[in-house]
């Protein structure tokens, strides 16, 4: 089920919302949020609910273990076992075929007779996200950053919260613990307008901007002839904005839904295309993921401490794994490596970089990030290198027939992304005319949804 689908807007959300606010106690609301989360998830494939329930159960029991045992050995077991289970599940469902295929490719290069058949594995939607939820919970419990909950349904409500279940933001328990504890005192009316404001802005970003750009650039990307240079740049720019508006739109909708149920989810995008350097970009793009990678991978490896080679190694490993997290494809690994290298280079030239005018820093960062998206978007290296070739070696040819429309869309998207305030910078207190304007845009989105013109969010595949 998608936030931008008829079944969600006209059936799931009204029922989930109205019943939630009829329930009075904490426990009732936890149970209801859990039920809605599992119903929401079952719309993809109800069989995978069992997988999520298993992962949840393992982490919950480990949390109880932390409460019960103080000796380091047992606590370590409570840390290692659930994380191993989670990573094994993630590894099997997401990376098993990738490993087999990669091994076979290497064997072919080495002229070895190795052959292993790939398995027919369906990737459970959102597994990368809820696995991170449970892992962060376990690690924070182990570190003593949070006190694990004894309330089973509070934990299940946290893991299966439908607003952030399948595409984030990756919410840590500590970020939402307070709101979950006070869920019986949540202010229904106070957060309603703010919630809808986030939700509508997110939907406009997704349905009216990202999807429109997508419909304009996809035919160009799938053309069976070399893309002319100017068009290749236009398509790259188009994808750059599409991805941002799609994913940040989803995050805004998730935050809005959280507000409607009395839960404040963290900010996931902070105007990333205004970043002054690549490091700054990662503080603004998919913040919940980059901060997780920092806190649970980069810093435990040593972070920025120690000799330079170690710091660089930590950075590269973090970015490579971050790339791989996005998908079982070498193009994502290369994208992660590309960003890792950019970060290393920036560390080396930081003083000179900062002397550049702000506009130049922003423009150069944007350009570098934009080039990276070519690997992110490409299905394989053939597509990526063909695309890059078109961008950097002159390829003549006529543009897309709808280029004027695309340019207009990109101008509007660019103005919002580079000059506008992001949703967390807005006050969400609208005067009647602005409210009415947003309601009209919302109607346009809903009509598009009713017409069956909705598309899945890009980050669902991760």
């Amino acid at each position: 089920m998608l936030f931008n689908s008829g079944i969600f807007l006209f059936a799931f959300l009204p029922i989930a919302y109205l019943v939630f606010w009829q329930l009075k106690t904490k426990q009732q609301r936890y149970v209801w949020l859990t039920i809605t989360g599992y119903v929401f998830y079952s719309f993809w494939n109800y069989k995978f609910c069992a997988l999520m329930a298993f992962s949840t159960m393992v982490s919950y029991v480990a949390g109880l273990g932390f409460l019960k045992w103080k000796d380091p050995h047992r606590r370590r077991l409570c840390l290692v076992i659930p994380i191993a289970v989670d990573l094994l599940l993630l590894g099997f469902f997401k990376y098993a075929n990738f490993v087999v295929e990669s091994a076979e490719t290497i064997a072919k290069w080495a002229d070895s007779p190795f052959h292993a058949a790939t398995m027919s594995i369906i990737l459970p939607v959102g597994i990368s996200f809820y696995t991170f939820h449970t892992i962060t919970y376990i690690v924070d419990s182990y570190r003593g950053t949070i006190k694990p909950t004894r309330n089973f349904f509070e934990f299940t409500a946290y893991v299966s919260l439908f607003s952030q279940l399948v595409a984030g933001p990756i919410v840590r328990f500590r970020q939402i613990e307070g709101d979950l504890e006070n869920i019986d005192h949540a202010n229904r009316w106070g957060a309603r307008s703010i919630g809808w404001s986030y939700f509508i802005i997110g939907m406009v970003k997704k349905v009216l901007i990202a999807d429109t750009i997508a419909s304009m650039i996809n035919p160009g990307l799938h053309a069976d002839h070399p893309i002319p240079t100017a068009t290749a740049w236009l398509l790259t720019l188009g994808y750059t904005y599409q991805l941002y508006f799609d994913f940040s739109g989803y995050s805004d909708m998730a935050v809005g839904l959280g507000h409607l149920f009395g839960l404040r989810l963290p900010q996931n995008f902070n105007s990333p295309y205004k970043a002054l350097n690549v490091g700054d970009f990662w503080h603004r793009w998919h913040i919940s993921l980059s901060s997780c990678l920092r806190d649970y991978l980069y810093i435990p490896m040593g972070g920025g401490r120690g000799p330079l080679w170690k710091v660089n190694r930590n950075l590269l490993i973090t970015m490579l794994l971050g790339g791989l997290w996005h998908g079982a494809n070498w193009t994502f690994v290369v994208w992660g490596a590309y960003h890792g290298l950019l970060l290393l280079v920036h560390r080396m030239i930081a003083p000179s970089w900062e002397r550049l005018p702000v506009v130049v820093q922003r423009a150069a960062t944007f350009l570098l990030v934009m080039i990276g998206w070519v690997f992110f978007r490409s299905d394989n290296f053939g597509m990526a290198f063909g695309w890059l070739h078109s961008m950097f070696c002159w390829v003549p040819g006529s543009g897309l027939p709808w280029e004027a429309g695309l340019l207009a869309m990109l101008a509007a998207a660019g103005a919002i992304a580079h000059l506008g305030r992001n949703t967390f910078e807005l006050r969400h207190e609208w005067n009647p005319w602005s409210s009415l304007g947003l309601a009209v845009l919302f109607t346009a989105c809903v009509m598009q949804v009713v017409g069956g013109q909705w598309t899945p969010f890009l980050y669902f595949q991760f």
Binding site: F10, S193, I200, P401, S435, A439, G451
Partner: protein, 407 residues
Amino acid sequence: MAKPLKTKSRWQLGTLAPVVLILVAAADVALRFLPMDFVSFRAWEAMEFNRVEGVPFQASKVYHGSRCFGDLANMGNLPAQRHYRAETFTSDRYGFRNPPEMADGPAPEVLLMGTSYSVGAGVNDDETLSAQLGRLAQCRVYNAAGSLVKTPEEIRSLAQRLHMKSGIVIYEFLEGHFVYPEFQDFLKKQYPWLVRPPPPEAPKPVIDRVLLRVGGTNLLATWQPLSISRLQIVSQQLYRKLENDRFLPNPKRADILVKKLSNGEEMLFEPWEAVMDQQPRDPSWAAPYWSWLAQELRKDNLALLVLLVPQKYTIYKPLLQEPAPPAVEPTGYLERIEAELRKAGVPVVNLTAPISAEARARLAHGETIYFPDDSHWNAAGISIAAQVITNVFAKPAPAGATPAAHP
């Protein structure tokens, strides 16, 4: 102080957003009671909607549209290629395309079975094959077309309902039949399938099952017209206006071939039509099947006449500006079916040659015998078919008689 707060709360998004959802939902529900005629671009969809199982159209319904256009222009979302025309489509009480009195008057002498070509997609009631043939041959022709395959039992049952004790069954076979899964399934299962009970139906949707359990067929019949969202159709139509290859790309454009005729006019085709003759087609099934059907019908004093109708692309391929690749087989598919049927003694009329000749002759005067924006023939094309069939039998053959094999 109270007044501004009240005004403010009314215009808050927390109030407006649910109102939008409620209004859209209400509009969707209300519009579901609107007849399909208002959102159809031609008669076919409006007539087909809400039909009873086993018949092609809603019974006793009249559709009139003044700005109808072709299915291909619609499929490809090509407004510039539309050729607007008025269309009147009437169904009788059995759900076939006939004047209402046809179902109640004297028994017809000819029963016409076949596809949308025989139904007369895109033409008016008085221009259909049954209407033109009835006028030319001076006989009562019942238009029972609208499905690809009919079992002898179905034909027999229909003939009995119409009090038809004898007569001719004209069975149209369209060249492109093979692309339809329904026909492929039928061939796979071989001919005896036709006399056995039909295969079990696919499970009904949950909502249908619930309605059946609660209120039987009546509730289900009430639900079905409401299950299609008119708002969705309207919304799609509005969105398609933007997909004009100027603002937004038209993803449907690739579904249709736009070709120039030798006189410079553009004509639309379905892409599969253009590759139809690029693969071998086996006609060996035709003689056993039609012989068997003829034999079955003979038991009910019904004579069979097979009518072979060429696809639009077959007719206009030699008349295109841009030369098309030659067919992989030297003899046309319908010609080979015709030869097989003649050998087996099954009466057959192949329209390929007369229609091809007429198409060439008329194009010289800027006329076509198929709609440029539709996959079907137009009234002029149908009149050729009617003329050729009339030549086969000046008047309906007596009961049990076999029509002549040649026009």
